[in-house]
């Protein structure tokens, strides 16, 4: 569970963002008091900050610049300004990503986990039920047996693994695949999931991926 500070002055949007983050298994903390936002940012002990640019009292860009003088916490800029220049300026001020409103919620979550991973400098190897998962090599090793996953299978497995125990919808899997330039169809996704299942079964990980009817998949 990651603590995510949400700095957004539009209350409806803020509430929905928090709900979205909570559903995805994060712990959202919202800023509602616009005095001393910088201090709140520094004191929040957050793993990641979602920052709107148009804020009352102070601009998000200024906040970011001041914040970066003392902290390394990853910051994703959320904005309705859709000019390339805004993006370049935000990145140069130290933002880790820049997402324009309205955003695809799944993409937002994917970007959040990508930024979190980058900042954590996660070990290249993760473990799952005694198996070593190497995203770089695209392989799973368990009890000396190795299974090589295709790019698509790895993307699916990685997303399931990041959200282990929670439901990952087909829509989310599809978005993650498309985000990696794999423009698969609905049926191709099913094929990829069953191939992934077969490979996991070969390693003795039967029933690892469970289907939840009309909802999605869960990695047990």
């Amino acid at each position: 569970m990651k603590r995510i500070l949400v700095i957004e002055d539009e209350s409806a949007l803020r509430d929905e963002l928090c709900t979205l983050l909570r559903h995805a298994g994060h712990e959202p903390v919202a800023v509602t008091e616009w005095n001393g936002v910088l201090d709140q940012m520094i004191n929040a002990a957050a793993d990641l900050i979602l920052l709107d640019i148009n804020l009352p009292e102070v601009s998000g860009e200024t906040l970011l610049e001041q914040f970066r003088k003392s902290a390394e916490t990853p910051v994703i800029i959320l904005t309705s300004r859709t000019a390339e220049l805004d993006e370049v300026l935000s990145m140069s001020r130290g933002a880790d990503d820049f997402i324009t409103k309205p955003y695809n919620p799944t993409i937002l979550l994917l970007r959040i986990s990508a930024v979190l991973k980058r900042s954590k400098k996660t070990a290249a190897v993760q473990t799952y039920r005694g198996a070593e998962v190497s995203a770089v090599k695209g392989s799973i090793i368990r009890d000396g047996m190795e299974q090589i996953l295709t790019k698509n299978e790895m993307i699916i497995f990685q997303l399931l693994l990041d959200r282990q125990g929670a439901i990952v919808t087909r829509d989310e899997l599809m978005t993650a695949l498309w985000d990696n330039d794999e423009f698969v169809s609905d049926s191709a996704l099913s094929v990829n999931v069953s191939r992934l299942r077969a490979k996991l079964a070969e390693l003795g990980l039967d029933d690892a991926v469970e289907t939840r009817k009309k909802q999605g998949y869960v990695l047990k």
Binding site: L13, E16, E84, K101, D181
Partner: protein, 331 residues
């Protein structure tokens, strides 16, 4: 200034002069002045008048020919008064003053409209940012409440809003794009994800080839342009959209090809024109004639080439050409 036309203009003064000469001759004869003297006086008068006429002609010719030559050489004709030296004779000065005054008044009007236009554009930008907030909230609500069918309509609202934004941007004189290396695959994935629901609903498959290259463009504008092309392909019966890039030493060519209903040969030359809907547009009733017009205009501003190939009933291919100007490269 033609001498012949000028002489014709001067016919009346010469008639008056001739009249005065005839009268003078009558007087001279009345006073019994010898004929030799009368002839001498006539010749002297004639020489003087011709001399004066030539001098005036040359002066006018110099001024007006200068005026015309300047006009010819100017790209923006209204800059003419700036190019003129103030003439030293009354007639010329009047022309000069009139030109300056009308020009000044026109420039003021233009500045006024330009300001109004810029204000309006600024307001549109602001309005777009404003409306994106409720759209963003609604989109999250749809997701959080699992109401996928509303999300599709929201995406359409957002598309319309984007169209307004880019239409405003395309017409303004300001340079509000930023050229830097943009990954084609990133830009295409952005728009593919955005259109995913509709693509899958229509059973359209995507094929990409060699999109690993970067081109010099504005990333946001490119995504919008690709979005317009994608929208057209979906609207006009594509089953497969193939996007391929080809890298040349001096340019990168992006081909956006679909196997939809195609464009008839007679419509093809006009598809980039504003409000042109053609046969396909009439048949579908959903065409606004703005999409490709905007594509062309935005490409023009960014300095990209855009052309179309098509065969009715077979395919449509839009070709974007990105230059590789070394000057654009950022360190």
């Amino acid at each position: 200034m033609k001498a012949q036309a000028y002489c014709k203009d001067r016919a009346i003064p010469w008639l008056i002069r001739s009249g005065a000469w005839v009268l003078s001759m009558v007087f001279l004869f009345a006073f019994r002045v010898p004929a030799e003297a009368a002839v001498t006086v006539s010749v002297l008068l004639l020489l003087g008048a011709v001399g004066a006429e030539v001098w005036i002609y040359l002066r006018n010719k110099r001024f007006y020919n200068g005026l015309l030559a300047n006009l010819e050489g100017l790209d923006q004709k209204y800059l003419l008064p700036e190019m003129l030296e103030e003439p030293d004779f009354t007639e010329g000065r009047i022309v000069y003053e009139v030109l300056r005054e009308t020009d000044k008044s026109m420039c003021e009007r233009i500045a006024e409209y330009r300001r109004e236009n810029a204000d309006f554009r600024e307001y549109i930008e602001l309005w777009v940012h404003e409306i994106k907030l409720p759209v963003a909230s609604l989109q999250l609500m749809c997701h959080n409440d699992g109401q996928a069918k509303y999300a599709e309509q929201l995406r359409r609202v957002d598309d319309c809003v984007e169209n307004v934004l880019y239409y405003a941007r395309s017409g303004s004189a300001e340079k509000d794009y930023l050229i830097k290396p943009v990954s084609l695959s990133r830009a295409f994935a952005d728009i593919a994800i955005r259109s995913r629901a509709e693509l899958q609903q229509r059973g359209i498959s995507l094929r990409t080839e060699n999109l690993g290259v970067s081109v010099l463009t504005d990333g946001k504008w490119l995504v919008f342009i690709l979005g317009q092309l994608m929208g057209n392909s979906m609207k006009y019966g594509a089953k497969e959209i193939a996007v391929t890039a080809e890298d040349f030493p001096d340019r990168t060519v992006l081909r956006f090809r679909d196997d939809g209903i195609g464009i008839s040969e007679s419509d093809l030359p006009y598809i980039f024109e504003k409000s042109f809907t053609g046969e396909n547009g009439h048949a579908s009733g959903r065409a606004t004639g703005m999409g490709l017009y905007l594509v062309k205009k935005l490409c023009g501003k960014l300095g990209h080439g855009v052309t179309a190939n098509s065969e009715k009933g077979k395919y449509t291919e839009i070709v974007l050409t990105f230059g590789k100007n070394e000057m654009y490269k950022m360190p």
